[in-house]
Point group: C2
Chain length 110, copies 2
């Protein structure tokens, strides 16, 4: 059931706080941001943010890495591309006519 993970990704973004977090991480790029910095920037309580970051992570939209005492979160573009591909799949009877892509600026289209 591929649709399950797609639904979870869409559900993860379908919430004010998480949408703001995701956009912030898209803007931050591959360097990412520490959880505390996100909490501070967006004014979301740490425990609440932790819950939302887990949702985004489980949906595959963000990844995290440990750096000293910090946990750095960053956007995971591949998953967004999976979502877009799923939405456009079989458009016009199977011939994908609209290449929709979502990539970090640091990795321009080749």
């Amino acid at each position: 059931m591929e649709s399950k993970i797609i639904v979870s990704a869409l559900a993860a973004l379908a919430q004010e706080s998480r949408l703001a977090v995701y956009r912030l991480l898209v803007q931050a790029g591959p360097d990412g941001l520490a959880a505390g910095k996100i909490s501070e920037t967006l004014g979301i309580a740490p425990s609440s943010l932790s819950f939302h970051l887990k949702e985004l992570t489980h949906a595959g939209l963000v990844t995290s890495r440990n750096e000293s005492r910090f946990v750095i979160y960053s956007a995971h573009y591949e998953q967004m591309n999976n979502v877009l591909a799923y939405l456009t799949e079989n458009c016009c009877g199977g011939n994908p006519c609209i290449p929709v892509q979502f990539q970090p600026c640091e990795v321009p289209n080749k």
Copy 2:
């Protein structure tokens, strides 16, 4: 609050039945499909489908038109483009570097 309508669009898609409906309408293209045909194709009870179609309509993702006794639903691509634009906004500090677009095949990129 632009985020409100974006969240509602994402929430509309973040549900198995509605995601299936939306994809079916993307595949159907501008001609669209009657509510009954959607119900039959996807095996969703009419009352349930009506509820979901309303959600998709309120989110701006689909539109409907009356044709005789039928109500024909079709995907409204502009709203999907709004969602994609919102997600990529300010990526890399304000310079949109990734033109992401979602269009019906009948209206190719010019």
